[in-house]
Symmetry: C2
Amino acid sequence: MQTALLNKATSSTLPLFSLEVPPLRKPAEPAASSVGSVQSFAKDEEIFAEGNRAAFVYKVLSGVVRTSKLLSDGRRQIDAFHLAGDIFGIEAGEDYRFSAESVGDCIIVAYRRSHLASMTGSDAQLARDITMGMMRSLIRAQNHMLLLGRKSALEKIASFLLDMAERTADEDALDLPMSRTDIADHLGLTIETVSRSFTQLERQRMIALPSARHVVLSNRAALERLNA
Amino acid sequence: MQTALLNKATSSTLPLFSLEVPPLRKPAEPAASSVGSVQSFAKDEEIFAEGNRAAFVYKVLSGVVRTSKLLSDGRRQIDAFHLAGDIFGIEAGEDYRFSAESVGDCIIVAYRRSHLASMTGSDAQLARDITMGMMRSLIRAQNHMLLLGRKSALEKIASFLLDMAERTADEDALDLPMSRTDIADHLGLTIETVSRSFTQLERQRMIALPSARHVVLSNRAALERLNA
DNA sequence: CGTTCACTTGATGCCAGTCAACTCACGTGG
DNA sequence: CCACGTGAGTTGACTGGCATCAAGTGAACG
């Protein structure tokens, strides 16, 4: 892991409880406010672990981060994948309630949480960004609970692909940065079922799989029908 | 549904990003700041529907509220049950992304969201309460995703009972305010599986069921072992 | 005293998990 | 350059947990 410093970068301006959620993707501009520590991680490095003291709030600059929880018998649930621009590591208590790891190489900014407690004036912008980040996390969590609790394997994969496509530049083709294992743990499935579902969608001409990690959405309408 | 007005009530004081989450249960003191509209609902009344304009943020004064989402084929997922003191209906966008109904008779306060946009000074307290409410929702959502994605039926019921017990006055006996259907939709199960799991826990002497809605946790250690 | 609704219990089936073998891409060293 | 090892992904056979379908129980209420 490498570290650097980042000062006084910019951010879009959002009212605290604005009615409109901004575009929210693509603008992966550096950071929000004064003094964030920029760090880079290689594949599968730990950013923080469940139970660690939650001293920082993070923002992804590039790459992908997964946050996950473990059951004592090793079963894992990935809460979310965080792409460029996403904020993660927001905690109410003093410890992290999940762990975070890089999925591939990635660069992130860390904001010391103690700085947030006394924010006013220009720094308030960061607080607003973080509030928005929290709201987005909550929205994603609520949608994800519906997926986990009530969708079939095929529906889960379809939702996941549509979601990932929406969050990346190209709407109809995407490179999955994460492994089948990560996808399985995100969707509450096993890697075998993930694999079988991909194959099935391919056979039904809804997607094409030029390689395992490259997906083309060849029939978006059909996928959206699966999505509910 | 009945409505009344509530002015200038009090609330506990919390720093915006304090390290400590306060007791958070039991103190179901009226409300937070100036002008909330107090409303009462009978069993199974709609408080708001998915897609409604999100004009208010709500706080439960007494009773229980469920928030849920529907798939087009009718499958339902209950995001959460909200007990006295809980805040619900926080939205980033302009519409509610889930619907809310009373589980039994209940009383709630509604805060007009437009008032929150321009809050300063004394009103800032309400914003902090709402931020805390959002953080708690997020924590609950993250825990619930692990439950939905990775726990067995028996583990789900055990977790649910321990969670409900923790949130109510008596730690070892509880009256469930919601139906088996509601529990099933919360845990991603069917009512039959919920019922069978209750019976199985009873046969294994972990709980006693003097009646369907009254549960005694007779072997809390065993339940916690199931919880992971 | 019968109807109703919530809940329980039983029989059966299916979707996804488990266990296991196989393919393929990639990297490493002889 | 090729043999070999390794790890990710795929596929197949089988199993099992939970859903589905269906019937039964019991408390509340008119």
